[in-house]
Every structure is written in structure tokens, then in C-alpha cells.
């Protein structure tokens, strides 16, 4: 009797920490979708972020405090016993390389999420079955960080796996490693956004695709008054093609005539009235750079 060999078993999922950083807390759906995407390509992520897992950069003007925060995070990751820390935030990733691991032993390797998904694109591609609500998507790229992790090639490569989506090449590169760095230099963010809009027009793009959370935060307001233009994050587009449902609440709040009303009383109560009024609302009501 012929014996049919059993199909090869899926290898055990690789167990990683998914270190999503802190300021992406504005976009909880990106953390959620990225986590599901890692799971879908055979990885078992343990998401970790927020101030408890700080890289130290918010306190870089005091080496003792910044170093202490970084050491606490390194010790927490070491205690989690996972081989790899998968990063999201370029600042966290570079801080790990430049200041955290050089001062505290790391019992893990690191990789950026774009590297992980790109390395497993043979598993991701069959999951990208749906067309997305965009025809031509222009990635929003920066000069910085690309020298550490080639995100400017990896992310467009992944977007090109989406059926029917065109991803044009354009030489537009914003200064800095992400838009939050530009926000501190007068005029720099507005100039970068004007250049991005010009690139969108030149390429006939109907979607701008942000790579990092701070770029997404600063760019979503470009949808205002431009009904033919959509601003999405690369994780949003991949998720859409996978059929994963999500809502970009931050974009909805930021572009609403009345952000407080758009957030709604239940969530406002969850955030806390005082915290919302002092810490959230001013950001949501800030005039767009362009």
C-alpha cells in the first residue's frame, strides 16, 4: 500500500516582542492590525509599549534619567525571554542600537517590522486578496532611518503585493527620520508637506501612504479640502487588502469640525475630561501645517 507522507507541519511560531513605542498610542488600530499581521505570517508577538517600555529619548537632556529608563526597558525585554524584539518606531529602533544595547546587555536580536513582513512576504502575499480603496498610492518617504533599515524599498515592495494597486516611484524624500523631527524646525514640516502634495499631483496618486506614526499624525489633515486624496498608513492598506476591518479614529477626530463631538462622551470619559482637555484636544484642534 502506498503511503502518502503527511504534509509538512507549520514550524512553531517564532515568539517575539512587538515593541510598538509610545506615541503610536494615538493609533491603537495600527498596533492591533500590525499584531494580527505578524500572527498571520507565523509569528507570535507579545505587544509592549507606552512609557513603561521607554527608550529614554524623551529625557535625553539628562543622561542619568534617560539611561535609567532605557535600562529598565532592556531588563523588561530580557525578562520576557523572547529571541527577537520587533520594532515599529524608528526612534526606538535607533535608540536601541545607539544607546540602549551599548550600555545594557541585550538577550535578544532586533528587527524592524518592515524587515520581518518583507522577509515573510511569501506568506503575506496570498493573504492580500482584496482590492483597496486606492488606485495609485504614493509612499511618504524620509531620508533618515533608511540608512539603518531600507524602509524606502521594503514598504513599497510590500504595497506592490496588493492586487491592482500602483505604487509609483518618486524622488521626493522629506528631511529627517519622521515628521515629528520636522515639527520643531519652523517651516520645515509645511515645506515637506507641500513637496509631498506636489509629488502626489505629479504621479497622479489618489492615496498618500505614511510609514511611521508621527508622519501619519501630521499628514492626515491633508485630506481636508482634497476629496480625491486619501491618507493611509501602510499597515492600513495591507490590512484592507487582507480584509481586516479597522477605523482610523485619529484621522476622523483630527479632521472633524468638532473633535470633542467626534470622540463622543463615552470615550471622552474613558480618557478623562481633564486629560482630554489639556493633553488631547489642543492637538486635535491644531491648525494643519498647510
Amino acid at each position: 500500500m502506498a503511503v502518502t507522507p503527511p504534509p509538512p507541519a507549520d514550524p512553531a511560531p517564532e515568539r517575539v516582542v512587538f515593541w510598538f513605542g509610545c506615541n503610536i498610542a494615538r493609533h491603537g488600530e495600527i498596533v492591533r492590525l500590525a499584531t494580527r499581521m505578524l500572527e498571520a505570517v507565523g509569528i507570535e508577538p507579545a505587544p509592549a509599549g507606552g512609557p513603561s517600555y521607554c527608550c529614554g529619548s524623551p529625557k535625553e537632556a539628562n543622561a542619568r534619567i534617560a539611561g535609567g529608563m532605557a535600562r529598565r526597558t532592556m531588563e523588561a525585554f530580557n525578562a520576557m525571554g523572547r529571541d527577537t524584539v520587533v520594532t515599529w518606531c524608528p526612534s526606538c529602533h535607533m535608540n536601541m542600537d545607539d544607546f540602549m544595547a551599548p550600555a545594557t546587555e541585550a538577550a535578544f536580536a532586533t528587527a524592524h517590522i518592515s524587515e520581518v513582513l518583507h522577509a515573510r512576504r511569501d506568506r503575506l502575499a496570498p493573504l492580500l486578496r482584496h482590492r483597496v480603496a486606492a488606485r495609485r498610492a504614493l509612499p511618504h518617504l524620509h531620508h533618515g532611518f533608511n540608512g539603518r533599515v531600507p524602509v524606502n524599498a521594503l514598504v513599497p515592495d510590500l504595497l506592490r503585493l496588493i492586487p491592482g494597486l500602483e505604487v509609483p516611484d518618486h524622488p521626493c524624500r522629506a528631511p529627517g527620520h519622521m515628521c515629528s523631527a520636522l515639527a520643531g524646525v519652523p517651516g520645515a514640516l509645511a515645506a515637506a508637506q507641500r513637496a509631498l502634495l506636489a509629488a502626489a499631483e505629479e504621479t497622479g496618486a489618489d492615496a498618500l501612504v505614511t510609514i511611521f506614526h508621527s508622519c501619519h499624525r501630521e499628514t492626515v489633515s491633508l485630506e481636508r479640502g482634497r476629496p480625491g486624496l486619501r491618507v493611509v498608513n501602510w499597515i492600513h492598506l495591507l490590512a484592507e487588502s487582507m480584509g481586516l476591518a479597522y477605523r482610523d479614529d485619529y484621522k476622523a477626530w483630527r479632521n472633524a469640525p468638532d473633535p470633542r463631538e467626534a470622540v463622543g462622551p463615552d470615550r471622552l470619559a474613558a480618557a478623562g475630561e481633564t486629560a482630554f482637555e489639556r493633553l488631547v484636544e489642543p492637538e486635535l484642534r491644531r491648525p494643519p501645517p498647510v
Partner: protein
């Protein structure tokens, strides 16, 4: 997975790392100014654009040598406007990580090692947002479920 192993620590703490790396890179820097010439932020800084790139770069090297108070104002302004493009690193003929040097210089100018060690008060304001932690937590309460907050933060 294409993960990179991290090298073993080379300093006992962050302050010692900043001191050691500053000294190492300052010793290798020739202050040729190629990093200044490649910087995309220079056009936003008229005084820096008008200065000799070698002079601006020498000021950055002075900060790394522990001579922050002696660095020209143009160098301080240049370091303060760094947005981490990394184009300086690609331009360095000595193959130094100029972006890392800028980061170290920025930390020192903002007082990372203290006024006593730098010979005077910080020459750049700290980029600290006093509401950062509370703001992150407030947004997390808006966008994450209670269970996600409990498990992930």
C-alpha cells in the same frame, strides 16, 4: 527572521557611553565640513548657510571634545536643527557615523552630562514635553481597550 544580533555593551551606563563615544568620534573627525554640506536643514538656517562648513563642523567636534561653551553659535544652531536625516553619515569621507555624532552633540548641548562637566549651562533648550507620558496614556485610553492597555502597556 532577518534579525540583527546586538553587540555586547561597551560602557557601564549612558553617561559613560556618551563620554567615550564623543571622544572616539571627535578624535577621528577632520572637520572637513562634508556633513554640513550634505545637511538638508542648512537652507533653513541662514547664518549656518553663510558660514564656512569647516567652521560649523569644527564647532560640532568641539562639543564632542567637551568644549561646548567654545562652540560657535552657528554650530550650536546647526546641531539644534538636526532632524536625523542621516545624509551627513553618507557624506563623511572618513566613514564616521556623523548622524550619531550630531545626536551625541545635541544631547551634550542640552545638558545630558550636567553643567559641571560641560563647563556651563546647556546651550540648547531640552526638547522635553512635560505632558508626554500623560498624553500617551490619555490617547491609549481613547484607542486601546482596557484589556489591551493592561496587557500591552
Amino acid at each position: 527572521m532577518s534579525a540583527a544580533r546586538l553587540p555586547p555593551p561597551r560602557a557601564p551606563d549612558l553617561a559613560a557611553l556618551i563620554r567615550a563615544e564623543s571622544a572616539r568620534l571627535a578624535a577621528a573627525c577632520t572637520a572637513c565640513g562634508a556633513c554640513v554640506g550634505a545637511c538638508p536643514m542648512v537652507p533653513t538656517l541662514p547664518a549656518v548657510a553663510a558660514a564656512a562648513p569647516e567652521t560649523v563642523a569644527a564647532g560640532m567636534r568641539a562639543v564632542l571634545r567637551g568644549e561646548a561653551q567654545a562652540a560657535p553659535a552657528g554650530s550650536v544652531a546647526w546641531i539644534g536643527a538636526c532632524t536625523r536625516s542621516g545624509l551627513c553619515t553618507a557624506a563623511c569621507p572618513e566613514r564616521l557615523d556623523a548622524a550619531y555624532m550630531m545626536r551625541l552633540a545635541g544631547m551634550r548641548l542640552r545638558g545630558a552630562l550636567g553643567a559641571g562637566e560641560e563647563g556651563g549651562p546647556p546651550r540648547l533648550p531640552a526638547r522635553e514635553d512635560p505632558g508626554w507620558s500623560a498624553r500617551v496614556k490619555a490617547f491609549a485610553r481613547l484607542t486601546l481597550t482596557e484589556e489591551e492597555q493592561a496587557r500591552w502597556l
